[in-house]
């Protein structure tokens, strides 16, 4: 079996938002929609407070609450764990967006471009009008993964088969791969480092792990 997951090393992320920009460029998402974003947050309680850059987006949960509520079957979970949306089936009820504890889903009502009515070159290439009026979210660049796998490449190891956000990370803070492969990068990282997932109390079993360290004593 294959279970694709993402790992973000919070010790390394510098909050540069390069992954955010790469995602927008590759997926042609409209203004205000950030499938991959890096939150700049404060965690802890005074006086033990730290500023943390938290890459986030769809967590590709093992038990996706969005899938459960979707009335149309547009939201699907593939056997490799990637949660997808069929834009042609979605009716735009956004029950899924409300059910997502990670606020990973977006929706737009009309065509919008970064610079008014004129499309940029990348928007001409990547903008999908089917995204209007339906729920959208990160899909782990599933087309890239599928094309790479078809060529015999390994997602997470070969850039041609790896999500754009991971490829673009300047700090090596993001990793992608198969959790069920004990030799994958993500398996190594999770074996060797303490990690945490968001909103685990919701029982969603996210496919997005965060590596962290306490302050060295």
């Amino acid at each position: 079996m294959t279970r694709y997951v993402m790992v973000a090393d919070l010790r390394r992320c510098v909050g540069c938002q390069t992954c955010t920009a790469a995602c927008k460029l590759a997926n042609g998402t409209p203004p205000g929609v950030q499938w991959r974003r890096v939150l700049d947050i404060e965690v802890g309680e005074y006086p033990n407070v730290k500023r943390v850059f938290l890459p986030t987006g769809c967590q590709h949960c093992s038990e996706p609450p969005c899938l459960e509520v979707c009335p149309t079957g547009a939201t699907q979970k593939r056997e490799d764990g990637i949660v997808t949306i069929d834009y042609e089936q979605c009716i735009g009820c956004f029950n899924c967006a409300l059910s997502c504890p990670y606020e990973a889903r977006f929706g737009i009502d009309s065509l919008e471009f970064a610079y008014g009515e004129k499309q940029t070159e990348d928007e001409k290439c990547n903008y999908d009008p089917e995204m209007v009026g339906v729920a959208t979210k990160c899909n782990f660049c599933v087309d890239v993964i599928d094309a790479g796998v078809a060529k015999g490449l390994t997602p997470g190891e070969d850039p041609e088969a790896t999500p754009y956000c991971v490829n673009s990370c300047i700090a090596g803070a993001m990793a992608f791969g198969d959790l069920d492969d004990p030799n994958s990068t993500v398996s190594d990282l999770l074996r060797d480092n303490q990690h945490v997932r968001l909103h685990e109390d919701q029982g969603t079993r996210p496919g997005f792990f965060y590596i962290w360290d306490q302050e060295p004593s």
Binding site: Q34, V43, E68, P71, P101, W212
Partner: protein
């Protein structure tokens, strides 16, 4: 508003979605008590028609809200897990059975199936209506991104407020007909008190669940009005009506209107104002720059 780390108002469902919960609750509640009234010989056709109209208007408002209304047929495709699918399917049955019940209640009409029991279609419609209301309750509970909706104690509150809204309208019908049933007034009194108790339990649970202070503030803003105008006033009026039955009509109508409008206000606020997201909660305090290079 862009999603950020802190809880913020959900931005996907607006007053149109709230109207679905208002229409669904009021309509099904009315269908339930119209059927109960029919067993006591009260007319069914008009309250039954208004009940179905409320449900239909609520669903129509949702249709106006969804992003791709011309694909709305797809909503039926996942009843295995989706309460919205189940609600849609329940609506189909509700309108089909409701149409039969209305046909049966049309003055002067005696359809074959009404010979054995003239109120049977009305009771079946009421049961289907309760199923529809249950689906709406399930829809709210399934929303894990909004703690105030996910809260388990909201389920009886939404169910009770639907029944109270429907019964409130039915009290107005009874007042207009000049046929106020004391038993129905007692049921109304009981349901109003039960709704007040459910509200209290819900508020306490939200406090314990540490939902966003903004959610609590939104509910706090309507607390006095909801409790006094939506519960206290109708309860007092119903007691007076029970004691002074010769003049019960106007009192009962006013009590019904107050109880109904109180429920509508609560649902409108619940969906549009008291619906904040979970926000981001990182349970650890990481430190940058400590990873091996």
């Amino acid at each position: 508003m862009k999603p950020g780390p802190d809880p913020h108002p959900q931005r996907f469902w607006d007053y149109r979605a709230a109207c679905n919960f208002v229409g669904g609750g009021t309509g099904t509640g009315l269908l339930v008590f119209a059927a109960v009234g029919a067993t006591a010989g009260l007319p069914y056709f008009l309250p039954g028609l208004v009940g179905l109209a409320f449900v239909g208007l609520g669903l129509m408002m949702v249709w106006f809200e969804i992003g791709r209304p011309w694909r709305a047929i797809n909503v039926f495709f996942r009843p295995q897990t989706s309460w919205m699918s189940r609600e849609s399917i329940a609506a189909v049955f509700l309108f089909a059975i409701g149409a039969i019940a209305l046909g049966s209640a049309w003055p002067g009409v005696r359809l074959p199936w009404t010979m054995a029991s003239p109120v049977a279609p009305a009771l079946l419609t009421a049961l289907t209506g309760l199923g529809f209301l249950s689906c709406q309750i399930g829809m709210l509970h399934a929303v894990r991104g909004v703690p105030a909706w996910r809260e388990r104690t909201l389920m009886p509150l939404v169910g009770l407020t639907g029944l109270v809204e429907g019964l409130g309208l039915y009290l107005i019908f009874m007042a207009l007909w000049g046929r106020v049933l004391p038993g129905m007034l007692l049921i109304a009194l009981g349901l109003i008190l039960a709704r007040a108790l459910a509200w209290r339990v819900y508020r306490v649970a939200l406090d314990r669940g540490r939902v966003s202070p903004m959610t609590m503030a939104a509910l706090e803003r309507i607390r006095t009005g909801f409790l006094l105008a939506g519960h206290g006033l109708p309860a007092v009026l119903l007691v007076v009506a029970l004691l002074w039955q010769e003049q019960a009509g106007p009192l009962v109508a006013l009590a019904g209107a107050a109880a109904t409008v109180g429920g509508w206000l609560f649902k409108l606020v619940l969906i549009t104002r008291a619906a904040h997201t979970r926000g981001v909660s990182l349970p650890v305090v990481p430190v940058r720059g400590t990873s091996p290079s």
